[in-house]
């Protein structure tokens, strides 16, 4: 009897380009961060030019504030607030002038960058002595036109030839007027498709993917920033005031070097996408591989040369072409770049907006505005990459761990925060910022990764193309906007609590007022997670849009737990929490005084929050990879049902008044506390990420949730009764 022949498993080729590249977001962040250096330069120029006038205005305003609203008792917080109110109103005009200087600095970089961008094509043509291809090469021009039409470019780039020493091919120019530079050695052999077509397709892919404007814009603003960041040095020299120069110079130098490296790194990532795009266009990746292996430079030098190169090594490019599943959505370095740029941009933008919006109704919304401006770009730079990775893993069956992305993003945030480019470390002492940055940053990345997994599980039900990924972009934009809002707002809350000498119990009780906005934060991720849990139920083969040709297969998607059992487990846990708080009321009787009432309110908050957190924790542990998203679906109902169940039982079973405002306040407090705790717990999902199992029966999850909820409620309430 013949032995069965062992066959190698087919490694499917994911269509990496089905989702947008996260490098687009990184380029946008980079440009925005470069513009933000103009804000700092503007401030310093203002201080150099109008510093004396501002100081006079400040002195006058302090005197006015002391006169109108004196602080007689330094411990009187209300008096301090009133004093500060008068001071800020008085200083607003002078501050607005400073803000306009900031904006002028950013606008100057933008305008100069635009000029550089517009002048660059002519400069490149002159410097590299590029010339039009003559009529003898009309055949090559015609072939480029054919290939451009295949790629879907409305207007083919114009062919230029370089000097005899021109050996590389590249594209440059402005949208609508692109140029393709090819080595003469390639152009004269245009009939040989073995070299000509793959190289031209690669360059056309750069055009199709808008790499030229992104890369050149990033380079242009970098160059444009140089003269603007020199301006403060000039004003310092004129005034012979060098007090801030050292602090300014090292930060700017660090920033410019990091930006330069990030641009290079982003360009390397784009090369893989251009290679894959070109291979997909031609329907075969092997000709391009052949060109790479025979007609490219042997990779120069050591790690540093590779680190600063615009191109990945030939080995890396061939590896990705051979197996597109090797493309990484977000590496440590990608996360680091995204975090750093975000941390530089947020405070710079916030500082300017605060001044501009002072004494307007929009002032209180400054953190929201900044988060909504920067969040989408950060979401595109990091979150979209994680969703892309989830899609790739859906095809390859891998379980790429997002720990590197988490670590990189948080480290980037901290480095950016430490550089303190917005105020040269002269700002307030935000000692709560660092822990909040860590929690919010890691939470955003993990929420994105978890929801991305659920989304990928439902890939077979998605139409593909922009109709699929726009929602991913919106979800990630909001997740990161939420994280950035938290990173700005929570330190203020904690600082205020510190000034007011709040204890943890005070903070918990007042959380409904202080951080009630957080209630809305998890809503969209919950809705997306819930919808995806429904859509992933049907077993379907991998969709064609997710594959780069070849055979299809049944995806290794998780289908369990379903939405119904997940919700049921959460609701049951909430009911148990409500019963637990009611049990305490039965055991302890009616409250005797206000202190007792406050203590019981705190117990309600703690019991329900801990139960909801326990439910989310169990979900994260039991459901690998997507547990970070499913935990929202189980925890939020537990928190809401526990809260409303407790207030309802308190009103209907014990005859207390029905105060819907109180019901809402308590629910918002519980949800806010639960979600903050949830962000702290999210890193647990990293520990179980590599677990091999996929499906977790819904009944099992619900049962575990009920058991854990019962244990937690019993412990908290039992302890409270015992300590009474």
């Amino acid at each position: 009897m013949a032995e069965p022949v062992a066959t190698a498993p087919i490694r499917l080729r994911p269509n990496v380009l089905a989702h947008p590249s996260p490098t687009t977001g990184r380029f946008l962040l980079l440009v925005a961060a470069m513009l933000s250096t103009g804000l700092l330069a503007g401030t310093l120029v203002h201080n150099g030019v109008l510093g004396s006038r501002w100081s006079e205005a400040a002195r006058a305003c302090f005197a006015l504030a002391d006169e109108i609203s004196p602080i007689l008792d330094p411990g009187d917080t209300l008096a301090q607030i009133a004093h500060n109110d008068v001071l800020s109103s008085c200083l607003a005009p002078a501050e607005r002038v400073r803000a306009w200087f900031d904006i002028a600095g950013a606008v100057l970089i933008g305008l100069l960058g635009l000029l550089v961008l517009l002048a660059a094509p002519a400069y490149v043509r002159r410097r590299q002595k590029l010339r039009e291809a003559g009529s003898r090469l009309d055949g090559a021009v015609g072939r480029i036109g054919e290939l451009a039409a295949e790629v879907g470019l409305g207007r083919p780039p114009r062919l230029l030839l370089g000097r005899a020493g021109q050996r590389d091919a590249f594209v440059f120019g402005l949208p609508g007027r692109y140029y393709l530079v090819l080595p003469t050695a390639l152009v004269v052999r245009w009939r040989s498709g073995a070299y000509f077509d793959p190289v031209v397709r690669h360059e056309l892919a750069h055009l199709k993917r808008h790499d030229v404007p992104l890369a050149w814009l990033a380079g242009a603003v970098w160059v444009a920033a140089l003269p603007v960041i020199v301006l403060p040095l000039i004003t310092s020299m004129v005034r012979l005031d060098f007090s801030l120069i050292a602090a300014y110079l090292w930060r700017i130098a660090l920033f410019m070097v990091v930006i330069w490296l990030i641009r290079r790194q982003a360009l390397r990532s784009r090369e893989h996408d251009a290679d894959l795009h070109a291979a997909r266009q031609s329907g075969d990746w092997r000709p391009l591989c052949s060109v790479l292996q025979t007609a490219t430079t042997a990779q120069p030098g050591g790690w540093w040369r590779r680190f600063v190169s615009n191109h990945p090594t030939v080995a890396q490019r061939v590896a990705v072409l051979t197996d597109p599943g090797k493309v990484r959505g977000v590496s440590v370095v990608d996360g680091l770049a995204g975090g750093f740029l975000t941390a530089v941009l947020v405070p710079a933008l916030s500082g300017t907006l605060q001044v501009l919006l002072a004494k307007t109704p929009a002032y209180s919304f400054t953190p929201h505005i900044v988060a909504l401006l920067v969040g989408p770009i950060a979401g595109l730079a990091v979150g979209v990459g994680l969703w892309r990775q989830a899609m790739i893993d859906q095809v390859t069956g891998e379980r790429v761990w997002p720990g590197g992305a988490v670590l990189g993003f948080v480290a980037g945030l901290l480095i950016g925060y430490w550089a303190d480019l917005d105020d040269l470390a002269l700002g307030g002492d935000w000692s709560y910022s660092i822990p909040v940055l860590i929690v919010a940053g890691a939470g955003a990345v993990l929420l994105s990764a978890g929801t991305g997994r659920l989304w990928a599980d439902a890939a077979a039900r998605l139409p593909g193309g922009p109709r699929s990924w726009w929602l991913g972009f919106v979800v990630n934009a909001l997740i990161f906007a939420m994280a950035l809002w938290l990173a700005q707002w929570l330190p203020v809350v904690f600082t205020a609590a510190g000034v007011g000498q709040f204890g943890l119990d005070d903070l918990a009780i007042s959380s409904g007022e202080l951080i009630s906005n957080m209630v809305y934060v998890p809503l969209l991720p919950v809705v997306v997670a819930a919808a995806t849990m429904v859509r992933r139920r049907r077993t379907l083969p991998l969709p064609a849009w997710l594959l780069e040709g070849g055979p299809t297969a049944w995806p290794l998607s998780a289908r369990e737990p379903g939405l119904g059992m997940a919700l049921l487990g959460g609701v049951a846990a909430g009911v148990i929490a409500a019963l637990g708080t009611t049990g305490f009321r039965l055991a302890a009787g009616s409250p005797v005084d206000d202190a007792d009432r406050i203590g019981r309110y705190l117990l309600w908050l703690m019991t329900i929050t801990f139960v909801a957190l326990a439910v989310s924790f169990v979900t994260m542990v039991v459901v690998p990879r997507s547990g970070g998203a499913v935990g929202l679906v189980t925890g939020l109902p537990a928190a809401l049902v526990g809260s409303y169940g407790t207030t309802a039982l308190n009103s209907f079973a014990f005859g207390n008044i029905i105060d819907l405002g109180f019901w809402w306040t308590m629910a918002t407090s519980v949800v806010a506390l639960w979600f903050f705790g949830y962000l702290l717990l999210l890193p647990v999902s990293l520990a179980v990420w590599p677990a091999s199992w996929r499906d977790v029966p819904g009944w099992l999850l619900a049962m575990l949730n009920v058991i854990v909820a019962g244990l937690v409620a019993l412990c908290v309430v039992g302890l409270a009764i015992a300590l009474r």
Partner: protein
């Protein structure tokens, strides 16, 4: 002159490049070093390609070959005819040598005639044209001289970093150009 010789060699070594030979030769003679040096590499949104033209290297090789030919036959012929070097080379290319057994296509791939080893001819000690078939007024290269010219071409091509296969093809093309012209 050198351009003429190189153009002939390129008809075998890189016929595609003849399309742009004129402007490339012009660029080479204006600044040989620039034409031979790779332009800026690692362009943003580039390919990372390293595809060099053969023509500039061929022109550099052609220069060396021309000098070698002159060294080999020039002294004798100048003495005999009083012509200048350029005229001599032009004549050489126009007439071409007809040594025994050296016909067009006499170098099938992989069966090149035996060439002297690299370094076999120290500078200033080129082989003197000797032999019973040579007449004092004959400008044709002897087989030994042709081998020498080939070796010069090969050495120059190698020195300029040309891959071995291409360097051999180019050297053969030069000798072929000299041998078969006319």
């Amino acid at each position: 002159m050198i351009a003429e010789l190189t153009e002939l060699a390129l008809t075998t070594a890189a016929p595609d490049e003849l399309l742009v030979f004129e402007e490339t030769a012009h660029e080479y003679f204006a600044d040989p070093q620039a034409a031979l040096t790779a332009a800026q590499k690692d362009n943003a949104v580039g390919f990372g390609l390293e595809l060099a033209m053969i023509t500039p290297v061929a022109l550099a090789v052609g220069t060396a070959v021309a000098q070698a030919i002159l060294a080999a036959v020039g002294e004798r012929v100048v003495a005999a005819s009083g012509r200048g070097a350029t005229a001599l080379l032009k004549r050489l290319l126009r007439k071409g040598p007809q040594p025994q057994g050296w016909q067009q296509g006499a170098y099938p791939q992989g069966s090149q005639p035996q060439v002297p080893q690299q370094g076999a001819y120290p500078q200033g000690s080129q082989p003197q044209p000797q032999g019973p078939q040579q007449r004092p007024d004959d400008l044709a290269l002897s087989p030994q001289q042709a081998r020498y010219v080939r070796q010069v071409a090969l050495d120059r091509a190698r020195a300029l970093g040309m891959p071995e296969g291409q360097a051999n093809l180019l050297a053969d093309s030069f000798v072929g150009a000299i041998v078969t012209t006319g």
